[in-house]
């Protein structure tokens, strides 16, 4: 200690202390500060939120309020989560064209990047379900038959046996699920858009949702084959009855007219 105390009045001592202090602070900062990548993400995130807020102000605020708090024309969006935004805007339901019993699917007018920005803004208002990943809704490890059973138990009441859709009260309806993106199917189950009940993971687990999506893809997807021929809309006996009357009996009556018109005629003398 003697050496140290002998030099503490050295003209460079202050410099050394300063350097040590700086190294210490820097080291501590380096040890405890958030990672550099996270920092960049934060910037991007806040940028996305900002951009989302701008998009929101133009496209959504008139019904949902300037801060997403909701108005008499639209519900509060606090806590609905990114998944709800991705579904509603990603299927073109939002922004709504007009008030009505139910907002129908229409052409999507935002790019996926813009939808993500909107989702970022809305999820910044309050925590909610996040957008699922391919691992959640992809076909790997899905049990189609189990999905069918789950679908018939939980979904067919409104969406019909294979998801062809059905009517609800007062002009509302459960839409046809043909050609719906698996991600959107997942988000719909997760968030329960419009008149649909929500099926959070505690009700239908991630695996359950995956099974249902795989079942729908098998029976109401683009590659679904109908072993019996024309499906007639998959709507059951009403369309079958119409077909039987118009094409079945219609053809037979046409044949009867044809047969009756060709008869053995007495030869004219």
């Amino acid at each position: 200690m003697k050496k140290l105390s002998a030099r503490r009045r050295h003209p460079l001592a202050a410099l050394v202390v300063l350097l040590l202090a700086l190294a210490c602070t820097g080291g501590l900062y380096a040890a405890f500060a958030p990672a550099g990548k996270a920092q960049a993400d934060e910037t991007a995130q806040s940028l996305a939120i900002d951009e989302g807020k701008k998009l929101y102000a133009v496209g959504c605020a008139s019904c949902h309020g300037t801060g997403g708090q909701g108005t008499s024309d639209g519900p509060s969006l606090v806590g609905v989560g990114a998944a709800a935004v991705d579904f509603q805007v990603g299927t073109g339901r939002m922004p709504a064209q007009q008030p009505g019993a139910q907002v129908p699917k229409k052409k999507v007018i935002y790019t996926q990047a813009e939808i993500d920005q909107l989702a970022a803004y809305i999820s910044s208002l309050g925590a909610g379900p996040t957008v699922p990943t391919e691992a959640d809704y992809g076909p790997d490890g899905a049990d189609i038959a189990k999905g069918g059973e789950l679908f018939r138990t939980n979904c067919a009441q409104c969406h019909n046996f294979t998801g062809k859709g059905g009517a609800l009260t007062h002009g509302k309806f459960a839409p046809d699920l043909e050609g719906v993106d698996p991600k959107h199917l997942y988000e719909a189950m997760q968030t329960g858009p419009q008149n649909m009940p929500s099926f959070p993971d505690t009700t239908l687990s991630v695996q359950n949702k995956k099974d249902i999506i795989a079942y729908l893809n098998a029976v109401n997807g683009d590659d679904t084959e109908s072993p019996g021929g024309l499906e007639l809309g998959g709507l059951g006996p009403v369309s079958e009855g119409l077909f039987a009357w118009i094409f079945g009996l219609g053809a037979l009556i046409a044949v009867a007219v044809w047969v009756a018109a060709r008869t053995a005629k007495a030869k004219k003398s």
Partner: protein, 546 residues
């Protein structure tokens, strides 16, 4: 000319041709010669609408043939099994053996799916054919004496066909038909006092139990088709016995039948028509899917799907239930489910309304003569209006039965449709009745005009003094006969109420009602007097302005 080959000169030792020997053998034992002689020349008139019944007969035969094939593979059992067939989306699911075997028929039996679809499409077409056939008989008045019993046979065939169809639709034990059986159970339960007992009797205990598929199977393949087959035979025998009706025309009277003989012409046509019917049904079955049970899945009482409807012929009962308000009253501690029980009562009334019509009409007209010449619908305006009103009623209920599909496909509110059906159930038949009667009277006036003034030729002529007239071509004698051959009834009046001794008799209420109905059938408001010979002569003699 050689005579060695004529039968007369054939030596007695020479054998007769094989066909002749077979015929001789059979005639000696069955007496077919006289039977054939009497019936081979039976005459059938030619008209496309007389072949509607044939469509029904042939589709019935097709249903029996394909049904027999299906019984070879179907297991009417409700034992639970796990599915391991070739349809992937049901692999490993639990289901009844009935469902499993139907899946097996659909995917793993050669031709099984096609046969199943032919069976089901033919059933829908059979019922639709019977409906149209019945309407043809109704609107042409072919149900009049002596054919009232045959009308009832036909009606019974239609009703039994409905129930045979319903039991058959329930056999695969899929989610759709199971819902239909559940619906039926609900209807049975709604019967006051005995409902629960009836339901337990029918299902052998609590619904669904383990019995109903086997029971429905016996009813579907044995009981009902057996009765129907008997009725079909009876129906045909009566058609033979009464001979076929015909439309009015030159040379056609109430005492003859103008047409082609059964053999060979009619037999060839009918035989050919059978194959045409089979062909059309087979093509429909090969093109279009029907009752895809694999898409519906096995029945489980805890599951249900939207769009659960019965086949079309039961659709009106579905409509009755769907539009009926869910009324329920509590009577002395017993719940009366009027929302289901009232439809259950109306269900047979809808059908009976059309079944009893011939008897009502014959009572109103008091006509006990035989009728073999058909009416043109316009010449019986009240009957035609009644028929159209009934069809309207039936169709309104069908709309009610499919109200969800009307809602989704026409972007309507299902509640609005339900209210429309509730109102239309009472109003639409009345409107249809009035409109149809007006149209019929309009057509009668047109006929009268055609008879008296001829057919509008479309040729416009200018007379020397500048007037334009349209040239009317007179009708041929045949056309005049056809348009004027129908007879017109006088409204039945209440007979004299005072007899020759001046004693007043009591006029019964039924007599008054009958006179009133008769007035509404045949009064001045309800038919246009057909042109008389005098009218015709006056106009065509040149004194008329044409």
């Amino acid at each position: 000319m050689s005579t060695t080959n004529t039968p007369d000169s054939r030596s007695s030792r020479e054998k007769a041709p094989a066909g002749e020997r077979v015929a001789d053998w059979a005639d000696g034992r069955l007496g077919i010669y006289s039977l054939a002689k009497a019936n081979m020349r039976k005459i059938f008139p030619d008209h496309w609408s007389f072949m509607l019944g044939e469509i029904c007969l042939y589709s019935f035969i097709i249903i029996i043939l394909t049904g027999v094939y299906l019984t070879l593979f179907f297991h009417p059992s409700m034992n639970e099994v796990e599915y391991h067939g070739s349809y992937v989306p049901l692999q490993g699911q639990l289901m009844s053996e009935a469902f499993n075997s139907t899946m097996h028929i659909s995917f793993d039996v050669r031709g099984g799916l096609l046969i199943r679809q032919i069976h089901h499409w033919a059933a829908l077409i059979f019922l639709a054919g019977m409906f149209v056939h019945m309407m043809r008989v109704f609107f042409t008045g072919a149900f009049r004496k002596p054919r009232e019993v045959n009308w009832l046979f036909g009606f019974l065939l239609f009703v039994l066909g409905m129930f045979t169809g319903f039991t058959g639709y329930s056999l695969p034990d899929d989610l759709l038909s199971g819902t239909g059986v559940r619906f039926m159970e609900g209807a049975v339960l709604s019967v006051p006092i005995v409902g629960t007992y009836l339901s337990f009797f029918l299902f052998g205990g609590e619904f669904p139990g383990g019995d109903f598929v086997a029971r429905f199977y016996s009813i579907h393949v044995l009981l009902l088709p057996g009765i129907m087959l008997g009725l079909v035979v009876g129906h045909l025998i009566l058609v033979f016995y009464h001979k076929h009706t015909q439309f009015a025309g030159p040379g056609k009277t109430n005492n003859n039948v103008v047409g082609m003989p059964l053999l060979p012409v009619y037999m060839a046509k009918a035989g050919g028509f059978f194959f045409l019917v089979f062909g059309v049904i087979a093509v429909v079955s090969a093109i279009a899917s029907i009752n895809p049970i694999w898409a519906m899945g096995p029945y489980r009482p805890d599951q249900v799907s939207t769009g659960a409807q019965p086949d079309w012929y039961m659709g009106f009962s579905e409509g009755l239930i769907r539009v009926m308000p869910g009324w329920e009253i509590n009577f002395w501690g017993h719940t009366l489910v009027l929302g289901v029980f009232i439809p259950l009562i109306i269900f047979p009334l809808v059908l009976v309304a059309i079944a009893v019509y011939p008897f009502i009409e014959s009572w109103v007209t008091g006509d006990k003569r035989e009728h073999h010449i058909l009416d043109r619908p316009r010449n019986a305006p009240t009957r035609t209006a009644f028929g159209v009103a009934w069809i309207t009623w039936y169709m309104v209920l069908l709309i009610g039965g499919g109200n969800d599909l009307w809602a989704t496909h026409f972007h309507l509110s299902i509640n609005t449709i339900t209210w429309f059906v509730r109102v239309a159930f009472f109003v639409a038949p009345v409107l249809a009745f009035i409109a149809t009667k007006r149209i019929c009277l309009g057509l009668q006036r047109r006929d009268k005009d055609k008879v008296l003034h001829g057919r509008e030729s479309g040729i416009i002529k200018r007379l020397p003094h500048g007037e334009f007239i349209e040239v009317h071509e007179p009708l041929s004698q045949e056309q005049l006969h056809t348009l004027t051959s129908h007879e017109q009834y006088e409204p039945a009046a209440i007979g004299a109420t005072v007899d020759e001794n001046g004693v007043e008799r009591k006029v019964k209420g039924s007599e008054k009602l009958r006179a009133k109905l008769s007035e509404s059938y045949y009064g001045e408001e309800s038919q246009i007097a057909k042109p008389t010979i005098e009218e015709y002569k006056e106009i065509t003699s040149g004194h008329g302005h044409h």
